[in-house]
Symmetry: C3
Subunit: 135 residues, 3 copies
């Protein structure tokens, strides 16, 4: 059962954190397997996405622009006041799936995997699971 988890600590209320290296190192430890990796976020005010990792301005634009999408004036009823963060979580999604070849995550040239923090700062967990191909 190749699966596990790791922790990350966000430093701002909202930010996209590159978790590609942590996930890569976790996967490599299982050897040169082929299969599919499911990465899962167990939190309700955070999400996961895959996007450009070369220019840090892109992730700043993503976290900035997603806040502009959501209504501020909507009469939210959830009294913790973080309903927009919950909706952002669903817009990004709770998991990403990636192909794994000989122990390496298959990403496009510019792609990195991001943990989307929408209600930080705090410590968060990321779960992963590997489905190994049959020979």
């Amino acid at each position: 059962m190749p699966r596990g988890e790791f922790s990350i600590t966000s430093k701002r209320q909202m930010e996209f954190i590159d978790i590609t290296r942590q996930l890569t190192e976790a996967i490599v430890s299982y050897g040169k397997i082929n299969g599919l990796c499911c990465v899962f976020n167990p939190h309700t005010t955070a999400g996961l996405t895959i996007n450009e990792g070369a220019d840090p301005a892109v992730r700043d634009d993503l976290v900035g622009a997603i806040q502009k999408i959501l209504p501020l004036e909507y009469p939210y009823r959830h009294n913790e006041g973080n309903s927009p963060s919950h909706l952002m979580a669903s817009l990004m999604g709770s998991s990403v799936s990636l192909l794994v070849t000989e122990g390496r995550l298959q990403l496009g040239t510019w792609q990195k995997i991001f943990f989307c923090e929408f209600d930080g700062p705090r410590t968060r967990r990321v779960w992963y699971h590997l489905q190994v191909d049959m020979e």
Copy 2:
């Protein structure tokens, strides 16, 4: 081939319906398996998401706020008049993936699985598929 489907009936035009219990019962019937569960929505004006299930106000806020995101004034061409519902479906996504440990769905403390109805009320189906880990 551990897979199946179940039905749900929505009562409003738009609502988020907690399907965690139905899915849990379906999965448990396969025994104490380890693996990954893919839940799939075969409808084009509905989606699936994972979000907070403790306070019902959150799901009401989600369904309320997502309607505020979409333009009403855009000159939609699809003559059934439900194009915003189709876009909401794509924003939420057609499937969710979940880890399964000894027959139990692995969710975060506050997470529940929601069927997102965007064009109800009507009866809908939910498909699921279990990938069982190799021993």
Copy 3:
């Protein structure tokens, strides 16, 4: 290791391209397998989604309306000027998962699989991976 890729060429800056037939033909070539298909988009200004394929007006509405969601006036910092395209990519998601029964993709009556081009025209690649059920 049943996996592969195929190419598509977009003709407009933004458009939703139906890739159901290409994917169906790719999957059929592996025989009458049962399992799960993960389709992955390796680009950062494109996405994948499943939505209505019967009326072409729906996909036109989707690509039109998603551009109305995003702010144009937000002071984006990424100097390639395509930050809205990156956010659209994350809103749609980088992958879709589908059940496969005897070599056939399982879709709802009106569903088709779309490649979401947000920064075309150009040639794009689509990756797919099949997890085969154990007997």
